[in-house]
């Protein structure tokens, strides 16, 4: 999801900023070949 500066977040569309837990693939770190 692209990052935007938004003043108002709709309550039924939480951005990942709001989540207390985020999952990322263990292969999702740049700098590992």
């Amino acid at each position: 999801m692209p990052e935007h500066d938004e003043e108002v977040l709709s309550t039924d569309e939480l951005s990942t900023d709001e989540l207390l837990v985020e999952e990322v693939s263990i292969d999702g770190m740049c700098g590992v070949y």
Partner: protein
């Protein structure tokens, strides 16, 4: 949402990392500069072993540190790590201490019996390198026979029941048309496909201008990756492409010194494997305090962890998505670190390259490449006095 609740928002992961992590999330550990191959784009300029490489005991002390720091997994590479005589001893030492290992190999030592042993272990993952879906394309970059070596290794792993090992490809101008074919190879062997970015690092600096994908190819690569979602890994190496639209899976930021780093064969700690250069050298595992103190307190890493202000990219509406791209790609093409990535999808990098003098691009001082020809005149400084070179210099042979 009421303002009071919004102010408690945890925010973006990328921002949370500025506090620094107690340990890297993954780190790459190159065990040796020795390699049986001489890939033209090798990021570590590997080929010949360095006489100062870490001993078996020193490696075990590093693994003890990784265990203490609770590093989840380490990507072991090189050169070709399996040519080290103590390779298996070290892998076992790491896994016995709950440090997960993924090792990156050209496949040379993945025999059927080695494959069986790997298939039986929960803590070891394998990554086979291949840069062409055909021998013609692959061997042009990795050398004659390397395609067969990789295919044989994958066949052995598949036959041994190892599911989900990684097939890792560096995307070039020559192979970007073979993405479906790479996926078919991965599917055939029960492997997971991984596509990564070519960087102008190590020997890659010599071939980057001819081998890196064109802007058009880059766009089609992005579209293909989006279409394949989480099925195809990227090691977050294409986060600079996020400016095209939706971000690809991954943290989408430069991990160097923040969530990843490199330990090289002589114990030097660099910000990332694509940045093997004095400017990105944080310290050594042989320093007092070892790897842990380098990770936590080195000046280089502290400075990398402070907030990116964007520099020349600040005014670009896409900076938030691409974060200014890859530090190593900028550095080794001679571009300023606070400006666009050489492959910036908006074209700003291309414009910057056009005015950057190629001759000024930095080179690392170390080069472990195999010597194809003996060192000759023209590559060395002339001696100050004839006697420096040869005591008989200037003496004509007796008739």
């Amino acid at each position: 949402m009421p303002l009071a609740q919004r102010s408690q928002s945890p925010g973006r992961l990328a921002d949370l990392f500025q506090l620094g992590l107690d340990a890297p999330i993954c780190l790459t550990w190159e065990l040796t500069y020795a390699c049986n191959l001489s890939c033209v784009h090798c990021l570590s300029s590997s080929g010949r072993r360095d006489p100062a490489e870490l001993t078996t005991e020193e490696c075990k002390r590093v693994i003890d540190t990784l265990e203490r720091m609770q590093v989840f997994y380490v990507n072991i590479g090189g050169g070709e790590p399996t040519v080290r005589p103590d390779f298996w001893e070290l892998v076992d030492y790491a896994t016995a201490r709950h440090v997960g290992v993924k090792f990156s190999t050209n496949g040379v030592k993945i025999t059927p019996s080695v494959a069986s042993r790997l298939a039986a272990s929960d803590y070891v993952d394998v990554q086979i390198s291949l840069d062409g879906a055909t021998a013609e394309v692959n061997d042009a970059v990795r050398g004659p026979g390397s395609y067969e070596t990789a295919m044989r290794a994958m066949r052995n792993l598949s036959d041994a029941g190892f599911r989900g090992f990684k097939l890792s490809v560096v995307i070039t101008r020559q192979n970007v048309g073979q993405l479906d074919a790479f996926k078919a190879i991965a599917d055939r062997f029960g492997a997971q496909l991984r596509l990564t970015r070519l960087r102008p690092s190590g020997r890659g600096a010599d071939v980057w201008h001819e081998l890196h994908p064109t802007a058009e190819q880059q766009r089609s690569l992005y579209d293909w990756l989006v279409a394949h979602g989480e099925q195809v890994l990227t090691g977050d190496s294409f986060f600079h492409l996020s400016a095209y639209g939706s971000a690809l899976p991954g943290l989408n930021l430069c991990g160097a010194g923040r969530v990843v780093c490199l330990i090289d064969p002589v114990g030097d700690v660099y910000a990332c494997p694509f940045a093997i250069h004095e400017n990105f050298l944080a310290g050594s595992v042989r320093d007092d305090g070892g790897f842990e103190s380098v990770w936590k307190s080195s000046e280089l890493f502290r400075s990398l962890r402070t907030a990116d202000t964007g520099g020349a990219c600040r005014s670009c509406g896409f900076y938030d998505s691409c974060r200014g791209g890859c530090m190593a790609a900028k550095f080794f093409t001679g571009l300023p670190l606070d400006g666009p990535d050489p492959e910036c999808v908006r074209g700003y990098g291309e414009a910057a390259l056009a005015s950057a003098p190629v001759a000024a691009a930095p080179r690392p001082s170390a080069d472990h490449s195999h010597r194809k020809v003996p060192v000759t005149i023209g590559r060395r400084r002339p001696p100050r006095r004839d006697c420096d070179e040869n005591p008989l210099a200037g003496f004509a042979a007796a008739p």
